[in-house]
């Protein structure tokens, strides 16, 4: 069966302006040639550190940022080729859940207004059926009808995030981008919301692009994982395999850098030197070579191609000269 979402060589470059008359003085290559497939009803976990372009990638797929190049196919429809009106119609199939529960709900609109709006815009159902749907969705995310006429500022972070999830579900989308959807929440609430997302994926068959900086969170929720560094994917693999047998030196470093909640584990890590280079001036060759503990002369010159580690099903691929 064809995958639900196919991303091909997607690029998003932001112009950098400076000097007189704000001329374009350079390009920030936030996303630079990303390709992957997302099968129906599965979750693709996208990990990377801040500034690696993972959020931009999510928004470029939804065309909340206009991509610079490449293609996005959702269920066979080329999203990148749609004109405005057709794109608006397609929006009901793809939704997004945001990171900041304090900024993602319109502050002066009640929860009912917020949840009805998507259906009204797309003229789905009757006023009664919309209201029923809102109540049903609130029930799914674990909230009662008493919240309908309240305003966002009356809720806690976890509750707001549930409302944001309900809003994303109002249009019965096939695909949802969850951008750091649990990062701003406290641990005990975080696991509640994670379980909720996992359940939705199972029961409603929605495909997720789950973006996070937290490898542990991603492992729990994903079928496959992609690791991103300076605008590019450096490794993709089925979840179990990535965590059991990480190949790219960056993936390994990321995995070992996570603080482990177990004091007996202290200091068993690969410490990387330095920090992420500015995406404005990415290093030549492999973008990771400035910090890579295994860098070779070739890494400074040539950008590595994809090397297959394992094909078939969900492939395990790595962009590194070591393999």
């Amino acid at each position: 069966m064809k995958p639900l979402l196919q991303v091909r060589n997607l690029r998003k470059h932001f112009p950098v302006r400076g000097g007189f008359f704000r001329r374009v003085t350079g390009w920030l290559k936030a996303v630079d040639g990303v390709s992957f497939d997302l099968p129906r009803g599965q979750t693709f976990g996208l990990v990377g550190e801040s500034g690696c372009g993972k959020s931009t990638l999510g928004r470029a797929i939804l065309r909340l940022h206009e991509p610079t190049g490449g293609r996005v196919l959702l269920d066979g429809t080329d999203i990148t080729a749609l004109e405005r009106r057709a794109l608006t119609r397609q929006r009901r199939h793809m939704q997004i859940i945001f990171q900041d529960p304090y900024a993602s709900l319109s502050p002066r609109r009640t929860i009912l207004q917020t949840l009805l709006e998507p259906m009204e815009v797309h003229r789905l159902g009757t006023p009664e059926s919309r209201r029923e749907k809102v109540l049903e969705l609130l029930h799914i995310v674990g909230l009662g009808p008493e919240v309908l006429h309240r305003y966002p500022h009356e809720f806690s972070g976890g509750q707001r995030q549930r409302i944001g999830i309900a809003r994303a579900l109002t249009l019965d989308p096939k695909f949802i981008v969850a951008d750091e959807a649990v990062s701003a929440l406290d641990v005990s609430v975080q696991s509640q919301v994670l379980n909720l997302i996992a359940r939705l994926q199972r029961e409603l068959g929605i495909s997720f692009l789950f973006i996070s900086h937290d490898l542990a969170v991603v492992q729990h929720i994903s079928d496959q994982v992609g690791v991103m560094y300076l605008g590019r994917l450096v490794e993709t693999a089925p979840t179990d395999e990535l965590y059991r047998d990480p190949r790219h030196p960056y993936t390994r470093a990321l995995l070992s850098a996570i603080p482990v909640p177990d004091p007996k584990w202290r200091s068993r890590r690969i410490l990387l030197q330095g920090e992420i280079p500015s995406p404005l001036h990415p290093p030549p060759g492999c973008p990771f070579h400035t910090r890579c503990p295994e860098a070779m002369p070739v890494c400074r010159r040539e950008m590595p191609d994809w090397r297959p580690i394992k094909e078939g099903g969900i492939p395990h691929r790595v962009a590194c000269h070591l393999y």
């Binding site: 909340l64 929006r91 997004i96 305003y151 806690s156």
Partner: protein
């Protein structure tokens, strides 16, 4: 620290009102403004202040039971005139404040949402041009161009005052449009018109409200100066006209007209300014939304 997780159903406005009520100076100044407003309303409804143009006393009568604050150079009752002028002031203030706020809010929101596009450039250019013209020169030119049209002054004030509001709103909208709730609205497929006017502008209402009160005071003060210069109110009477006609009286040693008009103006402007400050504090989203 601790995040308020009130279970009461309170809108942000209700919270702002709660805060405002605890500001004693704000409440008193609102009371003063309300008193002036009732006076103006009464004039408008014909309840009082109707004898402002009658010449029914001697020239420069001293204050007394017939003429509470005396009469002016041609024997008109100063108190009546000052009362009637309150209506003139509110008329000018309200018309200018409402229209320039609407104009500023609208263009500011457009410029902010489409920042860095030609729409923004055009609006910024227009504001720059209007701001570059000296205010009194502009009014004089307009008054001359619209010879005899009683609202020349209003138009001139609206044309100059909306730019400040628009700049403030533009800045706020540029900040707001990067909030995730705006992206969420785009992700839903909401038309831009609704994103701007349903989701973004309601969050600038606190700026508009405060700005409207500031413009109101500015308009009243400008009216006085313009009327004094002969560019303002052409029919009726205003505090500015009273002060203008008092120049000869002051030279002759009669201060009643001058002092009355000045004090009426002073208390209204003071009260309104303090009200605007209190309003600003109460509506500050940083303090309210927490």
């Amino acid at each position: 620290m601790t995040r308020d997780r009130s279970s009461e159903r309170t809108s942000l406005w209700a919270k702002a009102w709660y805060k405002f009520r605890r500001d004693r100076i704000g409440v008193v100044s609102l009371g003063v403004v309300a008193l002036y407003f009732i006076v103006a309303l009464g004039v408008w409804l014909g309840l009082w202040g109707q004898g402002w143009s009658q010449v029914d006393g001697p020239m420069w009568a001293p204050p007394g039971p017939d003429h509470w604050l005396g009469t002016n150079i041609i024997g008109q009752d100063i108190f009546e005139r000052a009362i009637y002028s309150t209506k003139t002031a509110f008329e000018v203030g309200l018309v200018v404040a409402v229209l320039s706020t609407l104009l500023g809010g609208f263009f500011g929101a457009l410029a902010g949402y489409f920042s860095n596009s030609w729409v923004d450039e055009l609006i910024l250019w227009l504001m720059g041009v209007l701001d570059a013209i000296p205010f009194y020169l502009f009014v004089a030119a307009l008054a001359y161009a619209l010879q005899g049209y009683p609202y020349a002054m209003h138009i001139a004030m609206i044309a100059t005052f909306w730019t400040t509001t628009a700049r403030l709103v533009r800045g706020e909208v540029i900040k707001l449009k990067n909030f995730e709730f705006v992206e969420a609205a785009r992700a839903i497929g909401l038309p831009r018109r609704l994103i701007i006017f349903r989701h973004i502008t309601p969050n600038t209402f606190h700026i508009l409200l405060v700005q409207a009160t500031i413009v109101f005071v500015g308009a009243i003060k400008s009216e006085v100066i313009l009327s004094f210069l002969g560019l303002g109110v052409t029919d009726g009477v205003s505090w500015g006209l009273m002060i203008a006609e008092s120049t000869q009286e002051v030279q002759a040693g009669h201060f009643s007209n001058f002092i009355t008009a000045s004090l009426f103006l002073f208390f209204l402007v003071m009260a309104f300014n303090m009200f605007a400050d209190a309003l600003q504090d109460a509506l500050d989203p940083k303090k309210v939304a927490a």
